[in-house]
Amino acid sequence: MAAQNFRHALFCAIVTLIIAYPILGLNLEARGIDITLTGADTFTVVMVFIAAVVVFAFQLFRDGIMETFKSLPGLRSGGAHKEPMAENRRARIESWVITGIVVLALFWPFFVSRGSVDLATLVLIYVILALGLNVVVGLAGLLDLGYVAFYAVGAYTFALLSEYLGVSFWLALPIGALLAALFGLVLGFPVLRLRGDYLAIVTLGFGEIIRILLNNWTSLTGGPNGIGGIPDPTLFGMEFGRRVKEEGNVSFHETFGIAYAGEHKVIFLYLIALVLAVFTALVIRRFMRMPVGRAWEALREDEIAARSLGMSRTAVKLSAFTIGAFFAGFAGTVFASKQGFISPESFVFLESAIILAIVVLGGMGSQIGVILAAVAVTILPELAREFSEYRMLIFGAAMVLMMVWRPQGLMPMRRIHIELKGQE
């Protein structure tokens, strides 16, 4: 046994060296048309060898290490001995905490810098997106890798409507969302019959098709140059710019007799995003408790059983897909308005992958978890700028590790249930 372990460990260490050394230790550099090969600095090489040694040691003593892990108290069975809080009490506490956070979020932007409010708006856009994707992936179990396409539909709807027809933000918001939902419906209708992994690929292909079309339909979308000059939202006809752009509107600062400040617009956008995020969360929460929400989960858990109970597979899946797309359209409209400029660059596959990573890390199906993950995933790279280029590397690794060790996510979903008291 020991000899076999040793051979296996040696093999693993050699593989580690083979996959790490050529890529990390030998760097290709292009100088004009010549390519030269330079060895990496000593630190990298040493790290590669240390990694190999660590792998060797781990594989050699694998069984022992695994035993220690299992016997560590509180790691695996964390909190299992604790009496779970009563369901209604927990729900009450939760709702108080959430109300508190929302109220705090309402007043918070008036006391901080413009940059952080802008970032917070972006966070909220991701919250909306993640909540929407959570319906599709987390609840209905449909892996949608082209979610960003619906986001693009929302954003481009607003941009095009405002450019060609002069439509305002408030009118474009429902139109963008509905159009995105329509796209979801039209795409979903044929593809939802497919099995899980095929569905993933088809949605991925669809997302790419949308992006390529946006990129090449230059006469309509401006191609890679994108569309600029997207108007800001107005508050009952009041504009937030220094000067009024449109006939019949008044400016916000003149109406209230206060000095003009660029922050007003940013804060207003933030508040819109906040309201929409809360709206999204509440609507989806309702859906989760409705029969259709139960049906999503039933279909995710066991399709055959659900169908044999008389559920229409297409209708249930389609509703999840459409609702997810609807909220992506919302987020897209807000995004277009926030940036004032959009181009196909903002809607690449990576964006879909980030949203998926948020849902997976937060815990598929769990709303609180997804919201927290959206906040963390968007803010952390801003806080640690020097690590920002490692962001996607860490996301990728986190997705794998999460699936291996904790597929239910950091804050797993809790099923809403009723407990009967005093009965055996």
Binding site: V15, T16, I18, I19, P22, I23, L24, L26, N27, L28, A30, I33, I35, T36, L37, V137, G141, L143, L145, P190, V191, R193, L194, R195, G196, D197, Y198, A200, I201, V202, L204, G205, F206, E208, I209, I212, L213, N215, N216, I304, F349, A353, L356, A357, V360, E389, Y390, M392, L393, F395, G396, A397, A398, M399, V400, M402, M403, V404, P407
Partner: protein
């Protein structure tokens, strides 16, 4: 011959070249799917790593002053195959084996994570800019009169055909004759039963990943030379195309992957030849969607019966 016909023949040659390379990558998807029923999303990245390793080996040999072409190609090929296979083995071990047999979504998400990880691994180590790949094999046969359109069949295209042919033949012989190949077929028919009969299924699954990765590395070297440049993202689209090829031919079927690759390559080069180069990706994705909708088993695939 008329000019239109010559133009058509040129597109056909280009399409078959790309298509046979797609077929090499598609083998990895189709074998893995045939055995454990999952899409190995990171396969495109393995192919990309193969191309990078080959380029590193070629550049290294040039620095050492080795210029004898067959030797350079052989060393690059062997290095790429070794690194890619190790990568394929490690990926299966780290990201797929622990989640095998769980809910369908879980291995898939794990695979997407792995794909993102590998992309950024190469991106961070080798930079994100695309880097020139020496074509090594220069020259071409030309047909047709010099003043009109000339069909060119470059030596690199011939190399791609021949290499693909050799790899496919070797693979077919391996699968149908060798002991491991027979075990592979048994495992893909019924994993549980094969393991009851004393086949080390874990080893066979690892072997599948290794074989697929090695073939992807061959494609990496060939397509790197053909396109003339590589970057860390170029595995993603190629992987998607190869997956399309695998589905088109019937996923799980090795001749199907070959057929699907060729059809896809020709469809693509016809689109860029007669419509516009920008839309060739749209065509292949649309083809994928249509195939999945109307004939999910592909051209040569066997229908899958869902058991309760």
């Amino acid at each position: 011959m008329s000019e239109a016909l010559l133009y058509f023949i040129q597109q056909l040659i280009n399409g078959l070249t790309i298509g046979s390379a797609y077929a090499l990558i598609a083998i990895g998807y189709t074998m893995v799917y045939g055995i454990i029923g999952m899409i190995n999303f990171a396969h495109g990245e393995i192919y990309m790593i193969g191309a990078y390793t080959a380029l590193i080996a070629i550049t290294g040999l040039a620095t050492l002053g080795v210029t004898w072409l067959p030797l350079v190609l052989l060393v690059a090929l062997v290095c790429a195959m070794i690194v890619s296979s190790s990568m394929g083995w490690a990926v299966e071990r780290v990201a797929y084996r622990p989640v095998r047999g769980r809910h369908r979504l879980i291995p898939l998400i794990s695979a997407i994570g792995m794909s993102i990880f590998l992309q950024n691994y190469v991106h961070l180590a080798q930079g994100s800019r695309n880097i020139g790949f020496p074509s090594l094999i220069e020259g071409s046969f030309r047909f047709g009169s010099p003043e009109n359109f000339q069909v060119s069949l470059s030596f690199i295209q011939i190399t791609i055909f021949i290499t693909t042919l050799i790899c496919m033949t070797a693979l077919s012989v391996f699968i149908s004759r060798s002991r491991t190949g027979r075990a592979c077929r048994a495992v893909s028919q019924d994993l549980g039963m094969a393991s009851l009969l004393g086949i080390d299924t874990n080893r066979i699954i690892s072997a599948t990943f290794v074989i697929g990765a090695a073939l992807a590395a061959v494609a990496g070297l060939l397509l790197g030379m053909y396109y003339g440049s590589i970057d860390p993202l170029f595995g993603f689209i190629a992987g998607l195309k190869a997956f399309t090829a695998a589905v088109l031919g019937g996923i799980g079927s090795i001749p199907g992957a070959m057929l699907g690759g060729l059809i896809l390559g020709v469809a693509e080069s016809m689109t860029s030849g007669y419509l516009s180069g920008e839309y060739k990706d749209v065509i292949s994705f649309s083809l994928l969607i249509l195939i999945l909708l109307f004939k999910p088993t592909g051209l040569l695939g066997k229908p899958e019966v869902e058991k309760i």
